[in-house]
Symmetry: D5
Subunit: 96 residues, 10 copies
């Protein structure tokens, strides 16, 4: 089941650089692991912003929430979720 | 080059049903043709809304505008565009 | 799976009264049928507004969208959807 | 009498972890006690957010305010209240 | 029990003047009757606007909704409701 | 002359408790003094919020501003003012 | 007593040109009469908009409302009012 | 040439009182000097707010910006500018 | 003197096609004439929208307003104006 | 390819003056270098604000993002991007 997720990141200025680096490294590993498992279907950067648009493909609302809460950057993010479904005009098999 | 496009449709109530049907049929053909050509990369319906989230993959801003203006539903839509790019954590080859 | 749905109704003033009555009667039957089937878990009126707050319990985003689009009042409504899940502090068995 | 309450939690980053843990434990006990007494009728988590949707069933505006102000997380919350009532199409006895 | 109600009136321009006059006359009678019964505690005009701020004193959310829906101008109004309660610093006996 | 005033209070978390207590005590005395003088006609708490709705009855804009600026909580408040006047349907003598 | 008033004009497209001309002529006479009486202290056009910023100098909220309601364009306007007072740094005698 | 300027002041709570007093004194002198030179045509306080509405009469956009940036309170202000011009109904010679 | 102008066009659906064509032709001539005179410095289309971003270079607010009001599409536009000035980092001679 | 970029700068008050000066010097050099290379086509200050409107002419969304992220002030900015294209009424060769 698909969800549209927008994540806006806002890192506090007083976070030590080493801590930021460590969080970002964990965030990347976490994201890539979920992408490889097919749970985090797409991720794109929004031009000019520290933000991304993602498509998640999960079993249900619970799994979506669990995955989002597990994000190393979770507490520095503002997250908006919209449930998606296959569009009647879609032609790609994997757009549903 | 990728763009995130949200289309909200608002059909006037006084449009004759036959005209609506004809426009929607043209819209579907137009969309599927662009999807097959790879220009309209993804399209999803937003749950509970007469709206979609789409990803376009076009040469430049000009082509994006030309394709959107050509939509049979264009004058009944409110459209928002955000330029996207490959996210540094992306693993899928086709997310850029 | 649970969803929070807010429906704001805006009936056009030029709709004939008999048509309004007929739509509202179908809407009520449609809603009560889904409530009896357990799909439309709760529905409350918001004080002072022609609007309701509903909780749907459906299989997935697709079913939610199909049920909402089938509402006789659908084209006169503005609908907002939020996916819900069981709260870790919930005690009622049926709040999930 | 029913009220729709949305609570958005925003914990300050400089709150010591032990203090957070203690507040959350008290919050859970407080919420479950009110749920068991039937005052806090429903509570659901909103997917992807540190926020909940709740339905309170209290005697009047005063009791609602007193219960909300007593929340251990009260000063870290942004709260929105909407008075609800039984919907004319409702079928469940306990939706009023 | 007290509620703060803001009513914004927007009369359609194509309503015949005689119909407007008749609605306004019924609105005034309806309002004054409820004021005399103590249900509609206060009403003030907002300077420069076709809008009012009112305080209702009713038994519960249901009664509030029933009274507001009965307003002859109801379908031409946008209404916002906020539940109120006695302020701990209030000195007037009738501010609760 | 009447004014509708909404006051939202936001106490900084790092204010010492004793200072908060002292400010709130002065605020209460200040408010009750103005209420007894008839300048601060009504005050109600908004359910679920650290906010109030007040009606002031003062000589002019100057006096209103002077009284609001004198509030011990003034610098911790966000204040919105709307000028009011007697509504043509009002029946209470003191609603003007 | 001074008030800041912003008036946004929105003339319906189906108003006959002769009616528009007649209303605008009456509006101008009405405005200039109040300016000459000192009630409508200032009026400026906002560049690029069918809107004006005005300063009224009237006895009280009642008079302000009466004057605004009397505007020939009143029903085609969206009006916002802010009460003003002399600024402690003002040097002009007539800025209060 | 005229500009409508709204200035909202937000002094940080941790600014030492003596520094605040010194800034406010410089702000007042700066404002009165520009008023006497005819550059800062009007200034009014908005009731209930630490904000003012001002009318500037300057040579061009450059001069306006230079004067605003020179305000001792500039970095504690949120400023909104609207270009104005003589209204066709204006009667005062100095409203342009 | 420079101004940033955003124009959003909203053509009513019931405007006869021949009238639309005639207005658009006049709009284009009007715009190109002002561009050639150097008054309308730049104009760009916003991708996906019936809207443009323009830079005007005019003598003063009056001339800007006169030129905008003269637009054949003026009554079908929503216009936003921001006064600009040379940026201290600008290197192009004609960016001021 | 053209983009409209608005940059709002918000320098934290506790940044040492020498650090601010050093960042601003690097920002200016960075901007002027990109202007001379033709990547940063235009830059204007918005009157009364610590903000600018810029036009970028870059190869694609990626290059735009890379250039914006490289801004020495990037982490103190709020940036909004809109893709632009040549307007059908444009006459200047370099407005595309």
């Amino acid at each position: 089941m698909l969800y549209h997720v927008r994540m806006n990141v806002d890192l506090p200025r007083d976070l030590p650089e080493s801590e930021v680096a460590e969080i970002l490294q964990r965030e990347k590993a976490y994201s890539q692991d979920l992408q490889q498992k097919g749970k985090w279907r797409h991720i794109w950067r929004i031009a000019g912003q520290y933000a991304n648009i993602s498509i998640f493909d999960v079993d249900d609302n619970d799994e979506l929430h669990r995955l989002l809460c597990g994000l190393p950057l979770f507490k520095f993010m503002d997250i908006e979720v919209m449930p998606l479904l296959r569009h009647p005009s879609a032609v790609r098999d994997d757009d549903s």
